[in-house]
Symmetry: C2
DNA sequence: GAAAATAGTTATCGCGCGTAAAATTTAATT
DNA sequence: AATTAAATTTTACGCGCGATAACTATTTTC
């Protein structure tokens, strides 16, 4: 490795024998220079380890190669997983992802968009809160920066949305539950901020009607992101009160289900589809911990990878075409039934 | 809000009636200008919403106000929690945190340090892998940038380390387990990359000796970060083979314990300290999910907040003093026993 | 082998701000 | 009111690189 320290592109030009403008071209796109010069540059590069100053580069470029990635809550393994998938897609395409969590706080979502604005990103991948999001702030942001939303939709805002088809996936699990035992009741929070929750409720109603069963929806109070706590406390209360009309409960998401499973355990109830079981509990999302609950949770798996990659590639397409989409795109992937022991 | 768009500090100087150098001073430290001028500036600021260009600022500043935060794996709620605490501490002190995950991959840790170097951070808070980390790369990085490590120590490297006192906390739980039932066996991975694991094993040996019991350590094979999987597969295997000498197992960390709990459930064993229970299982770390396992996990809680804040404040002290520490500091916080139903 | 196309060079400007020194104003002190 | 210290303004330069124009060198084409 290097002898003297290279301080800037000028000095690197001197030691590599390549002119500065050509180096500049190379760093912006290695394939834009002739093969032989590229090899010369890379030879020098391996000798002197020089890297262009990020700040100087981004100050002058019309658009940076930064991609902002905003998720509502990194403490939720669901979002840390999908956030990671998105990051990888960005890196693979030669962009620099910047991952920000809104920490379960819609105000932080706004703050994150503000921070991102200062970084002049080429585009942003946003998993918004949904109803709790500041729709106006997001819309304003979208005017300045190309944005693709994923996981949760904000109707009509942003270039495109990529998520899971809740109607398909709820039908899938409702059908399974009806076929394999008593039809499911539906368990959710009273005021879910996530729009998927509303779609899932609606999908449950339709699916139950389609299969000729009466729907039973149970909504419980609770604020914030401590879904397991709410599932345990309120779910446990409903169970011990005998509030559920059937022995099967479909939870609006896995984290509520995880909480409810722990409550059932506390109550000494055996959960599952065996003969000796008192009830069945199912979730939605295939949370990373769902296979380690007691019993392991039957759920609907979202296709993390497909959603992340489609969201990213859609954004890249917009960025590289340098034009906004003429029409807002919505892409929904199918969920997959994951059968485990809980239902 | 603003009429015309302010494009740079020059223009903002014009509309605010304050000279550009003074504005520059203000943005670097609002308290460095006279109260009356600060008010003038802030009045103009609320009218014209102008923000200095991040890239231009950082290009010229000797040191930026960026703080790199590197954790081994954001998918692990333990690290997303402590990462968040660290972020908050940075923001509160007026720094800009940049959170990077090494995704369970030591090579990525190196890559993250390389990326950070390009951002010329004022300092870095690093939770390293430990033995799996590239010690040489970290040491080299520490020569250029002040670094405080937390959670896992890399002996002798970096300015300071902040973590949990494993000897204190293991003694705490071993004492409790011995007092309340059969003395614990110890369950861990054969080749743990995390140095805490080694300390915990050592601490277990010492604690058992102190209490006059024979130690029993069970090490299982397994690679990577899928601890729950390893705990479930290998832990389940040991349980059904009757390999544990006593009815009590202390796991090296909560995630192994979570896996083992699910294995015990599968085997139809009741875990806990009740009379009808077949075995006890305890963990270490107080993982966010530990209170929702079946049964809820007895464990040792690390003081996330204290560790994060001490690590951050130590780093700030180094940064602001503009001198390296004369002597490497190590701070260990006590763990707290969290008694739940599993042991 | 000459013309055309491609790639590289030199030269120069601009980006938005930090920073330093000198000149000037303002506030605090006696 | 005079003295002094502190804050602000003016002026001027530099950071490292992107971008472009006008040339020159190299490679391709027939």
């Amino acid at each position: 490795m290097g002898q003297q320290k290279i301080r800037n592109m000028e000095e690197f030009a001197a030691v590599s024998g390549i002119s500065r403008p050509t180096l500049s071209k190379y760093f912006n796109d290695p394939d834009s220079v002739r093969r032989s010069t590229r090899e010369k540059i890379e030879a020098a590069l391996s000798q002197y380890d020089y890297r262009p100053n990020v700040y100087a580069v981004n100050q002058n470029r019309r658009k940076t190669r930064n991609i902002g990635v905003v998720v509502p809550n990194l403490s939720d393994p669901f979002f840390s997983e999908i956030g990671r998938e998105v990051e990888l897609a960005c890196l693979a395409a030669g962009y620099s992802p910047i991952l920000l969590s809104s920490h379960g706080n819609p105000a932080q979502e706004r703050a994150n968009l503000d921070s991102l604005r200062a970084l002049k990103p080429a585009g942003v991948l946003l998993a918004p809160f949904g109803k709790a999001s500041d729709r106006e702030a997001i819309a304003r942001f979208c005017r300045d920066v190309p944005v693709v939303t994923f996981d949760a939709n904000v109707e009509g805002v942003c270039e495109a949305f990529v998520g899971t088809d809740n109607f398909q996936s709820v039908e899938l699990i409702v059908e399974y539950l009806c076929r394999s035992g008593e039809p499911p009741c539906f368990f959710e929070m009273k005021t879910p901020s996530n729009p998927n929750a509303n779609k899932r409720r609606q999908a449950y109603l339709e699916a139950m009607e389609r299969h000729g069963f009466a729907p039973h929806i149970h909504q419980v109070p609770g604020e914030g992101w401590n879904f397991e706590e709410i599932g345990a406390t309120e779910g446990g209360r409903l169970i011990s009160a005998g509030a559920f009309e059937t022995d099967t409960v479909l939870c609006s998401n896995d984290r509520l289900a995880i909480g409810m499973l722990s409550a059932a355990y506390e109550l000494g109830l055996r959960v599952g589809h065996g003969k000796d079981c008192a009830m069945r509990i199912a979730g939605q999302d295939d949370h990373p911990f769902s296979r380690y609950t007691c019993p392991p949770l039957t759920t609907i798996a979202q296709d993390y990878g497909a959603i992340a990659n489609r969201a990213a590639s859609t954004l890249f397409r917009i960025i590289e075409s340098e034009t906004r989409l003429t029409e807002r795109e919505e892409t929904l992937f199918d969920g997959k039934l994951v059968m485990r022991a809980s239902a």
